[in-house]
Symmetry: C2
Subunit: 159 residues, 2 copies
């Protein structure tokens, strides 16, 4: 029950709790998305496209927190199955803006309902104020971790 002298106290560590919450959310989302034949990244991609049509592969990757290579293979599958469309050639640069097809939109609708139910359950025991506090706290953590990577001396950017 009580913490040791050494190490980080897991019961009061925001980092550990954050990982635990994220893991629980991930498991719940996978559970409701699986019957629909979707993964979380799959759903995230569609949701991103619904809100910001025309997003590029790299932008989608950043929004879904995966590498652009991962998003690329996903996009190819989604295009092959008719959920999204991309122009064969870039109009201006190399960027290929992606848009949802009607089929993609329909597919997203069911997924959104499922995901919303998870979020509802997650927010179940929290007041609006608590939710606002949590939002603020998460934004603060995200901002604090942005850039300035861990080791100033010799840590070239990943990749």
């Amino acid at each position: 029950m009580s913490a040791n002298r050494v190490g980080i106290d897991l019961d009061t560590s925001l980092g550990y709790l954050l990982k635990e919450a994220s893991s629980a959310l991930r498991a719940s989302m996978e559970a409701v998305l699986r019957p629909l034949g979707m993964t979380i990244t799959h759903y995230s991609c569609l949701e991103l496209l619904a809100q910001r049509p025309g997003l590029s592969n790299s932008e989608l990757a950043r929004g879904a927190f995966v590498t652009r290579q991962s998003m690329n293979v996903l996009l190819q599958a989604l295009e092959r199955d008719g959920f999204v469309t991309r122009p064969a050639e870039a109009a201006v640069g190399k960027v290929l803006p992606t848009t949802l097809t009607p089929r993609g939109r329909r597919s997203l609708e069911a997924a959104t309902a499922a995901v919303r139910s998870v979020e509802i359950r997650m927010l179940g025991g929290m007041t609006d104020d608590e939710q606002a506090d949590a939002l603020r706290a998460l934004r603060s953590m995200i901002h604090a971790l942005r850039d300035d990577d861990g080791a100033p001396p010799s840590t070239p950017p990943v990749e």
Copy 2:
């Protein structure tokens, strides 16, 4: 900036923010752990063992939020490299209690310092009250998502 009518508003979605924060934390931890030749699961396993010596493979897996299969291959590597020890045969059931070796403890020390620096930076702009609020909020979300996985018998995916 403003959300559409359809879908989930990403800018105010606790789920999305949670994923973003978790992703940022993961990246920062990987960055500081990489020079030490450790992965996050690797470190988590050692930290768990330092606080609760004798944990079994399955218990470690739950604590590190991976499957027991994943933890098993990690433990085999850690044992091979002399960071942990497990009895060759179970004393009572099938459970093999794992303990840190002196080498494992030394290795953990450096990692803990690195991880602590990340957590410090993450908590940088937050007051103690805000941290307490965040802790409460995360615990609430975790509790709400526990068990009752996505689809109870009487809740087929909506539509």
